[in-house]
């Protein structure tokens, strides 16, 4: 029996949270795994790994995207923001992060990175959502703990904090 041929590795330059990460990955490395294993950014969580739960959501050129449905080798031209990149200067929580803390918008925290990235982008498009719009904003993300009520409150509170800080 011949030894299996080793998998080809690709040199990939990822732009994450304003830093450059040079990684060597096989083509099948999901962006979610590249962020966690190769870049050491474990804030991005992996739940379902087929696009349904939203835990792995990151911002690609500012727009929320499932990192489990992209390959790292496809992300070469993109500017990626993970939950770690939301925090502002001197470790100040971003408005959305602060709102989750204020409103008890998380329990176990597994789903939270995906909600934070999704809502950050959602509030850029719609800085003053109604409660219904807040619900619609998070409709593509699953949370098994909170029952969503406090996450909806967090969206509204985050909009308020952004106005206060402006």
């Amino acid at each position: 029996m011949s030894a299996p041929t080793p998998e080809e590795l690709h040199d990939v330059r990822l732009h994450v949270n304003g830093s450059v990460h040079e990684v060597q990955v096989p083509a099948r490395r999901l962006l979610s795994d590249a962020l966690r294993h190769d870049c050491g950014l474990t804030g991005t969580h992996v739940g379902c790994e087929h696009g349904v739960c939203g835990a792995c959501t990151v911002l690609v050129d500012g727009a929320p995207v499932r990192s489990c449905l992209m390959f790292a080798v496809s992300a070469v031209d993109a500017e990626i923001t993970t939950v770690e990149g939301l925090t502002e200067a001197e470790d100040t929580l971003s408005p959305v992060q602060q709102a989750f803390s204020d409103c008890h918008g998380l329990q176990c925290g597994f789903c939270t990175p995906g909600f934070l990235t999704t809502i950050t982008a959602g509030l850029k498009d719609n800085p003053d959502p109604t409660e219904d719009e807040a619900r619609e904003m998070i409709a593509g993300n699953l949370c098994r703990c909170t029952g969503y009520q406090n996450i909806v409150k967090s969206v509204l509170r985050a909009a308020e904090i952004e106005r206060e800080r402006a």
């Binding site: 083509a27 999901l30 795994d33 087929h50 696009g51 995207v65 390959f71 496809s74 593509g140």
Partner: protein, 287 residues
């Protein structure tokens, strides 16, 4: 839950992509990946090579004109949905696209990819059929136009040859005196429909001269039914041509029930839309 190994190419020109595809029988095109990557991760597909078309130039367009809307292979669902001009030329695009998945999926998934993926539970293949649109495909052998009526071969199967890349879809404009409507029932907004129904009606002097209905998630291919001669009971005419099936989301009987409830509603909406547009046009002509 990880894909099997594959070789990877990210060509910078269409010629390079077509040559690579023609030269590797096990290769597959990667567009938005919103359907393909789950299939790879679940190991339901294991292509020998992926040809990532996301770096190809000039395929991201959404171009409306008087005849219809041209959508390039790299236009994301979100871009098509955001085009007010496209919605003006063919309102059914935005009506249906707002039901295609969640915004996060729409940011990456392409409308052309959804057509080629040919899922009977997807909104846009049905919309293309109902509007009698087409898809332009290229290969090393040249370019051809595939009419929507010839695009869908079976469940998750289009008639594209292995070496062909779809480069553009064409959704015809809504003619004067015509109206459209769309409704679907899903467990949550953004989930795949249990049943979705679209209607396209043409009117003349307020009278319906042609009425067609399109169905999502009812049979295993996108189905379009002409109900022009069955306006008194369009749901019965539709059910005669549909094959509702059981799955984990709904029973066949429940799907048939939804067809009965949604069909007259959506048809009435489309007739109303047609009359409204005719009235607006009359007003404009008078002014």
């Amino acid at each position: 839950m990880k894909p099997a190994p594959f070789a990877f190419l990210r060509p910078a020109t269409l010629e390079e992509a077509l040559a690579a595809l023609a030269g590797e029988p096990g290769a597959k095109v990667l567009a938005g990946g919103q359907s393909l990557v789950p299939l790879l991760s679940m190991r339901l597909a294991a292509p020998s090579m992926l040809i990532d078309i996301n770096a190809l130039p000039d395929l991201g367009h959404v171009t409306p004109d008087a005849t219809g809307v041209r959508v390039g292979a790299l236009a994301r669902h979100a871009h098509v949905l955001a085009s007010a001009e496209a919605a003006e030329v063919q309102p059914l695009l935005a009506l249906a696209l707002s039901h295609v998945a969640h915004p996060t999926i729409r940011n990456r998934g392409t409308t052309v990819g959804s057509l080629v993926h040919a899922d009977a539970a997807a909104e846009m293949p049905m919309v293309l059929r109902l509007l009698e649109g087409s898809v332009d495909v290229e290969s090393v052998r040249g370019r051809r136009t595939v009419p929507a009526g010839e695009l869908f071969a079976g469940p998750l199967e289009s008639t594209l040859a292995h070496d062909e890349i779809a480069v553009e879809a064409f959704f015809p404009a809504l003619p004067a005196g015509a109206g459209v409507a769309f409704q679907e029932i899903a467990r949550r907004h953004g989930d795949y429909a249990l049943v979705g129904v679209a209607a396209l009606v043409e009117t003349d002097g307020g009278e319906v001269t042609r009425a067609r209905l399109g169905y999502v998630s009812v049979s295993d291919v996108p189905v379009v039914v002409d109900v022009t001669d069955a306006l008194d009971d369009p749901a019965a005419a539709a059910l005669a041509e549909l094959e509702p099936a059981d799955d984990i989301h709904a029973t066949a009987a429940y799907r048939a029930h939804l067809v009965k409830v949604l069909t007259p509603r959506v048809l009435a909406d489309a007739v109303h839309h047609a009359r409204q547009r005719s009235a607006q046009k009359d007003e404009k002509d008078m002014a």
